[in-house]
Every structure is written in structure tokens, then in C-alpha cells.
């Protein structure tokens, strides 16, 4: 080897040594450039259309039923004393026993509360899409995959995060919820999508019948030949259109997810799922499985959808109970992370924002307490709060007021991107609603 060749090969080898550690599972060459504020984010889609009046403004019956009783029924998340009387949101007959608080310190004290934000849609699906896409997507149809990239895809494409580290846990199959784990945008799409479970179905009676008794195949001796033969068959298939793209779990990730599913069926049968102390609603059982997902996978991003408060269309009493339970659910998740998932404790940010508010004036339906119900379509439906707490989030900070709106719900996308270190990439992608910015930049 002459001197020139020696120098050339040595240089190439050195370059390879520098580059190799940064080749990420996604195929991305270099890791995201931004510094992370935390390694994990839990984002709660809270929780089916919440009025400011009964949540952050703590007016209980005072701004809805011509009754002066006021008070805070979200006392894990917000500072404030509960209503002194007319308790209907708890457990037991008539809901007269409020659920005991879980957190010793409210999330408001632990983090930052945006008291008055602007929602961009008065509907559920538009609202959920705005929270996950950071865009109003005016042409977004129901029962249609998101048109613009979701936060999952941003993180996976620009952050090199594996599929099994991004999870969307839905409380049901309704409202097109299962469609929200990735968009149909040509530059992003399924290959950067998140894993999804609707646990009340996956691990409920239907799943128990058709998913729980899966035969276990040996990864090398049996699954490898299956995948090899499938690959041959797929290559032979001369299909002119597009075939469904997988979200890109590796065979190892698939095995891990199957093992998780098996564990969940066992825990479900044994009654040992990490459910909240009170678990009498679909939202609360969903949160129990979300805790299990976090404990098993330690995701970079876990999005949890709740929607129980939407019962307000026909029952204000049920709405109060669901709102009280949504607070209980968020507190349980936060408590579970701090006390049962050491890898995420102290290294996680939790964010909760409703997808929309509800009307200022009621509809004609009265419930069992003769209280009026509320839909969501007027300007009051575009008023929501936002809250975040955890690593590197300023504590005990309250921003904005009823007369001073600060923040848009679409802000949550660049906020999560900033926490996980891909803010610049998300902003420069060019798909966010104009005026959208990280909530950290609004502090």
C-alpha cells in the first residue's frame, strides 16, 4: 500500500467512525439538533369538549344552571376548593362522594397553566386533528386520515424515534379516533406513524375472544420463514395501485408488542391492570392501560384520548362526573409515572388541553337533576385552557386570563417538538397553522 492509499483509507475509516453512531433506526443520518427538555411527553386530549366555566373558572353550577354554587371539581389539576354543596360528580348513589385527590401538589403548582387559549375547531375531530397536526386543516373530512403530518410523524421522521416509542391510546373506535396515528401526507405517512391501541376493545371482550389466544411462534425457526415467504409473495404481487403501508415496527418491535398484549390479557384476567383507584368509566380504564403502555415501552410520546365529558350533550350531571374523573385520570397517570416508572420519573412532561370547549347557552335537554345540557358550536366552544408540568416546565405559573387570551391549541405540536428536540425541523416543515408557536415561547 502506498502512502496516498494509506491516507485515503485511514481518512475514510475515520469518517465512518464518526458517522456510524448517528445512523438512526429511521434511516436518518444525524440526530435532531435541538436540545431536549425531557425524554418523555405524555399528552392528554382532555376530554371531549370542556367548558371554561366548569373547569379553569371553577363556577360549577354558577354559570350554567342559575344556581350560585361554585367550586373546583378538578382539584388534582387546579388550585381551588371544591363546591360546598350539591355534590353530584363523585361515586356512590347520586355521586355524592367526591373522589379523593391523588396528588399532594396540584399540576397547576407543579407547572404552567394557560388559563385562556383559543381552540380552532368547535368539533371533536377537527379539534383532535388540530391538537395532533398543529393545523386547522379546513378541508379535513370526518373518517379521513389527517391531511397534514401529525406530531408522531414529525418525531419519528426528524427525531429518528422508533415506532414502538410513539403511542396513541384511544378510549374508543368512535369519532375516527383510530385514524389519528398518522397522516396521508406524501412526505410523512404510515411509515412514520405511531402505534395505537383502543384498549377497551383490544383487551375487552372482543379482543379476549379473537386476540388473547395467539399461538406463539419461534422468532427464528418459524417467524423468519413466514416473513421470508410473505416477502416473496409480496414481490410477486404485481399490484398497480398502492398497497397499505405498515407503520414500520421492526420484527423485534412486533414481538415486543405481542408480548405486551399477552401480558395485558393475563393482567386483565387477573385484575392487576394499573387502573386508577376509581375505574368506573371508559376513560378511566383507558388510562389504566395507558399506564401499562408507558411502563412497558417507556415511549418518547404517549398521547391519550379521553371523551367522557361529551355526555354533556344530554346530561350536565354526567358531564360534571366525567370532568371530575378526567382530573382523576390525569392525576393517576402522573402519579404512576413518578412512582412506578423510574425511567420516566423526573424526565417527563405532561400536557393536557381540551380539543374544544362547549357553548355558553344550553340546549333544551334537562337531566335527572333538571339541569340543562350543553352542545359545542358557538364562540364559547373556542375557549379552552392548557396545562403542562414536569421537567424544565416553569412551576406555579399562570398565564393569561378570561380577558387576555394567550396561546392557540395548535401550539402544542411545536411545544412537544421543542421538548423532544425537533422544534426547528417542525417549524421549518411549513405545515403549522399561521401564528402557532411553542408554548415555551409564550411564557
Amino acid at each position: 500500500m502506498d502512502r496516498r492509499n494509506f491516507i485515503k483509507r485511514t481518512g475514510a475509516a475515520a469518517a465512518g467512525l464518526f458517522a456510524a453512531p448517528y445512523i438512526l433506526p429511521s434511516g436518518r443520518l444525524f440526530a435532531a439538533s435541538g436540545a431536549q427538555l425531557a425524554e418523555h411527553v405524555v399528552f392528554v386530549l382532555f376530554a371531549g369538549g370542556v367548558r371554561q366555566q366548569e373547569s379553569v373558572l371553577q363556577r360549577y353550577l354558577g354559570d350554567s344552571q342559575s344556581d350560585p354554587t361554585e367550586g373546583n371539581i378538578m382539584y388534582n389539576m387546579l388550585d381551588g376548593t371544591p363546591p360546598p354543596e350539591k355534590i353530584v360528580y363523585g361515586t356512590g348513589l347520586g355521586g355524592i362522594s367526591p373522589i379523593q385527590p391523588i396528588l399532594g401538589q396540584t399540576l397547576q403548582q407543579q407547572g404552567t397553566l394557560f388559563r385562556e387559549m383559543r381552540a380552532v375547531s368547535a368539533g371533536h375531530y377537527g379539534g383532535l386533528n388540530s391538537l395532533l397536526q398543529g393545523n386547522t386543516a379546513a378541508t379535513q373530512g370526518l373518517q379521513q386520515k389527517p391531511l397534514n403530518p401529525t406530531i408522531f410523524e414529525y418525531l419519528r421522521r426528524h427525531g429518528g424515534i422508533p415506532a414502538s416509542k410513539t403511542w396513541f391510546v384511544g378510549n374508543s373506535l368512535g369519532n375516527s379516533v383510530p385514524l389519528l396515528n398518522y397522516s396521508i401526507h406524501p412526505n410523512y405517512g404510515a411509515q412514520y406513524g405511531a402505534n395505537f391501541f383502543a384498549p377497551n376493545v383490544t383487551f375487552g371482550p372482543a379482543g379476549d375472544q379473537y386476540l388473547s389466544d395467539a399461538k406463539v411462534y419461534h422468532p427464528q425457526d418459524q417467524l423468519a420463514p413466514i416473513y421470508e415467504m410473505k416477502s416473496f409473495l409480496d414481490n410477486s404481487f404485481e399490484h398497480l395501485g398502492s398497497v397499505p403501508t405498515s407503520i414500520g415496527n421492526t420484527p423485534e418491535e412486533k414481538q415486543d408488542i405481542k408480548a405486551f398484549m399477552s401480558e395485558m390479557f393475563t393482567k386483565t384476567h387477573n385484575g392487576t391492570i394499573a387502573h386508577p383507584p376509581v375505574q368506573d368509566s371508559g376513560d378511566l380504564t383507558t388510562v389504566g392501560y395507558a399506564c401499562e403502555v408507558m411502563k412497558w415501552f417507556k415511549p418518547a410520546l404517549t398521547v391519550v384520548n379521553m371523551s367522557g365529558v361529551d355526555g354533556c350533550h344530554s346530561s350536565f350531571t354526567g358531564y360534571l362526573a366525567a370532568l371530575h374523573r378526567a382530573d382523576h385520570a390525569v392525576a393517576h397517570m402522573w402519579d404512576h409515572i413518578q412512582n412506578h416508572i423510574p425511567e420516566m420519573a423526573g424526565n417527563t412532561v405532561i400536557i393536557a388541553i381540551p380539543e374544544c370547549g362547549r357553548n355558553s347557552t344550553p340546549n333544551a335537554i334537562r337531566d335527572q337533576n333538571d339541569w340543562y345540557s350543553f352542545d359545542h358550536s358557538d364562540s364559547n366552544s373556542l375557549r379552552v385552557f392548557g396545562m403542562m408540568a414536569g421537567a424544565n416546565v416553569p412551576s406555579n405559573l399562570s398565564i393569561g386570563s378570561e380577558d387576555n387570551q394567550v396561546g392557540i391549541v395548535t401550539d402544542v405540536v411545536p411545544t412537544i417538538a421543542e421538548i423532544l428536540g425537533v422544534k426547528n425541523e417542525v417549524l421549518s416543515a411549513g405545515f403549522l397553522e399561521p401564528g402557532t408557536q411553542s408554548l415555551f415561547d409564550r411564557i
Binding site: 415506532a163 396513541f168 384511544g170 373506535l173 383510530p178 396515528n181 406513524g193 405511531a194 402505534n195 395505537f196 391501541f197 383502543a198 384498549p199 376493545v201 383490544t202 371482550p205 372482543a206 379482543g207 375472544q209 379473537y210 386476540l211 388473547s212 389466544d213 395467539a214 399461538k215 406463539v216 411462534y217 425457526d221 418459524q222 420463514p225 413466514i226 416473513y227 421470508e228 415467504m229 410473505k230 416473496f232 409473495l233 409480496d234 410477486s236 404481487f237 404485481e238 399490484h239 398497480l240 395501485g241 398497497v243 397499505p244 405498515s246 407503520i247 415496527n249 412486533k254 408488542i257 405481542k258 398484549m261
Partner: protein
């Protein structure tokens, strides 16, 4: 005498007519026949994706030779919807079916007794077409070279294939 002459002429004319008809041009008879040709396209021209319920119904019929009730199909549809990775969802459902009694799969001995027939029958059962010579060769080589490849694994791979998602 007049009658005799007329009779003779008439008889002669009849004889001539018969002779002409009997010896006239005979049209050639051509018989066209076709060789047996497989008119199916290679992939059966499948361009429509099965719904979850269609997939489950056909899969169950292929594996058990029996039909599922609409209620069961609805529940399987819900299960598939509840899992984000659809391929993983199908894998788990196939695995569950494989674990149930009544699944109709040939034994390894039956497969090895006539590998070609097994391959053709499997393509017919799952993909509703005949395999090409290349496909037959590939699977024949795979079956003979890899002792781990059983009829069950082959059925699994067919049920998981992209072509099986279309009709």
C-alpha cells in the same frame, strides 16, 4: 309408345340428377380446436382491497372451511381497528385461528408426498389462481431446503401476504 318415350326420358333425367348430386363438389370440413390455455392473469388482476370483515370471513373460510357469523365478523373488525399496526393485528388474528381446533391444514407428510400439488392447491385456496413456474420452483426449493417450513407456516405466510388483502 309416346308414353314409353316420355317415361324413358323422365327416368333418364332422374338418373342424371341423382348422378350429379352424388358426384357434385363436396365442401371441405375444417375442425378447429384449442390447446388448453390458462387465461388467468398472473396475479388475478386484483385491485380492490378487502375490508376487515371480508378479510376475516375469507381467512376463516380458507382455514376452517366454514363461515363465521356476522356478529363474529363485526367483533374481528373491531379488533383490527383497535390496533394501529394492521399487519401485526392480522398476525395475531391468524395466530389465534391457528390455535383453535378445526383448522384444516395438510400434514407435512401429505405436503411432502406431492409438493407440486400442495403448492398449486395452496395458491388456489388462498390467492385463487395458479402459481407460475417460477413461483412453483421457489416454493418447491424452499420446502425441500428448509425443514422448519411446515404447511402451517406456508398457510400463515399466504394469509399475511399483500395479494391476499386484495381481490
Amino acid at each position: 309408345m309416346q308414353l314409353n318415350t316420355t317415361s324413358i326420358l323422365r327416368s333418364t333425367a332422374m338418373l342424371l340428377l341423382v348422378a350429379v348430386l352424388a358426384t357434385g363438389c363436396k365442401k371441405d370440413l375444417f375442425l378447429y380446436e384449442l390447446d388448453t390455455v390458462d387465461l388467468d392473469l398472473h396475479d388475478g388482476d386484483k385491485d380492490r382491497e378487502k375490508s376487515n370483515q371480508e378479510y376475516a370471513a375469507i381467512l376463516h373460510a380458507n382455514l376452517f372451511q366454514t363461515a363465521l357469523s356476522p356478529n363474529d365478523l363485526y367483533k374481528i373488525d373491531q379488533c383490527i381497528q383497535s390496533i394501529g399496526d394492521k399487519q401485526l393485528a392480522r398476525e395475531v388474528i391468524i395466530s389465534n385461528f391457528m390455535n383453535k381446533p378445526g383448522v384444516q391444514i395438510p400434514t407435512a407428510d401429505e405436503m411432502n408426498a406431492d409438493v407440486n400439488a400442495f403448492i398449486i392447491a395452496t395458491y388456489n385456496r388462498f390467492l385463487v389462481r395458479n402459481p407460475t413456474e417460477a413461483e412453483k420452483t421457489w416454493f418447491r426449493n424452499k420446502i425441500t431446503a428448509d425443514p422448519n417450513v411446515t404447511p402451517e407456516l406456508i398457510y400463515f405466510s399466504f394469509a399475511l401476504s399483500e395479494e391476499y388483502l386484495f381481490y
